[in-house]
């Protein structure tokens, strides 16, 4: 028995299987997962690791375990999407910790959230004074969402009655020294226009550019060259 060869083959099986299953489970980021999904993720990873290197047992039972856990997670996801009651039961509900500026100690005890935890999460959101907070909600993912009292909220264009500016993307027109023609077409521009604009900044060849982006709103071409000086 060639152990290394067997481990390589089993690892490839585990890797590709995990890849397919994780694609099936969706695009949620780790930060968006509920605690339950996070734990399930760890379990699935652990089973895949055993499938890969534990040669004292056959690969097949581990693979079946992997498929079963994935199917269960998939079924749970499907159920929570289709039924709000099931979602409430399986995922839980967000908990209000600060209501209209008042700390709700009972709610905090219920979710075992200490004042230190609360202050830490507030600082993480650049709030260093708890009196500025109108509402704080502990989401099912464990993250804290906050709403500042109106006097502490940043001024917006609407508050100042300033005409809004169109929010636009700034597509890359040069990437790694290559002109991105697809984005130029999207901007209704052509390579000649780009060359002219680069020349205006003292650049003769797009190959000298690491990245260049164009903002239509203020007609600004941002350029970063390979040679910074």
């Amino acid at each position: 028995m060639d152990e290394s060869l067997v481990v390589i083959v089993r690892s490839l099986i585990a890797f590709v299987t995990l890849f397919i299953f994780s694609r099936l489970l969706g695009k949620q980021q780790i930060s968006q997962l509920t605690l339950f999904e996070y734990i399930l993720g760890i379990t699935i990873g652990s089973i895949a690791a055993t499938l890969s290197v534990d040669l004292t047992s056959r690969a097949w039972p581990h693979w079946v375990g992997l498929a079963t856990w994935t199917f269960v997670v998939f079924a749970l996801q499907f159920t929570t999407v289709k039924s709000s009651a099931a979602k409430k039961y399986l995922v839980g509900r967000p908990t209000i910790l600060i209501n209209n500026g008042v700390l709700l100690e009972d709610e905090m005890n219920q979710v075992r959230f200490t004042l230190t935890d609360l202050l830490e999460q507030l600082r993480d959101k650049n709030v260093f004074d708890i009196s500025q907070v109108a509402y704080a909600v502990l989401e099912t993912s464990g993250h804290l969402s906050i709403l500042l009292k109106s006097e502490y909220q940043p001024v917006t264009r609407q508050d100042m009655q300033v005409a809004p500016q169109k929010a636009v993307l700034s597509p890359q027109v040069v990437f790694n020294g290559q002109v991105v023609e697809q984005n130029l077409t999207f901007l209704n521009k052509d390579p000649a226009w780009l060359i002219d604009r680069l020349k205006a900044q003292g650049i003769n060849d797009p190959a000298q550019v690491f990245v260049a982006t164009y903002n239509e709103t203020d007609d600004n071409l941002y350029v970063d060259k390979y040679k910074d000086n």
């Binding site: 040669l55 047992s57 097949w60 693979w63």
Partner: protein, 121 residues
């Protein structure tokens, strides 16, 4: 169309893996007389009972060759311990045949047969 081909490829890959991981029963089936392990076990059983040690030595070599060939094919879908148990049986069988001990040789041969029958079960 792209979505269909994605699901189709994923399904084919997963089913191929499932087949590959369960292929030991299929791959250990003899394709010729040389790699027919069950036949060599049967021949050895007869040789040992008749105390025909020269023939037993010859059949032992055939059995070892057959096993080495089979292991290469089934190593991905069976337990390492299952392979090791049969390796040990074969090594002991060799010693018993060399010293012409029919009791020990038969015991090892029957244990080997048991392990062989229970492989991948």
């Amino acid at each position: 169309m792209q979505k269909v081909s994605y699901y189709l490829i994923a399904t084919i890959v997963l089913f191929s893996f499932a087949f590959f991981m369960n292929s030991a029963d299929y791959l250990r089936k003899p394709t010729n007389e040389q790699n027919n392990l069950a036949l060599h076990v049967k021949n050895l059983d007869q040789n040992i009972l008749e105390e025909n040690w020269d023939e037993a030595e010859h059949n032992y070599i055939q059995l070892k060759k057959a096993w080495d060939e089979i292991v290469k094919k089934i190593q991905f879908s069976v337990e390492k311990d299952e392979i090791n148990y049969i390796n040990i049986n074969i090594a002991r069988l060799n010693a018993y045949i060399k010293v012409e001990d029919d009791d020990g040789a038969l015991a090892e041969l029957y244990e080997l047969e048991e392990h062989w029958n229970n492989l991948n079960r």
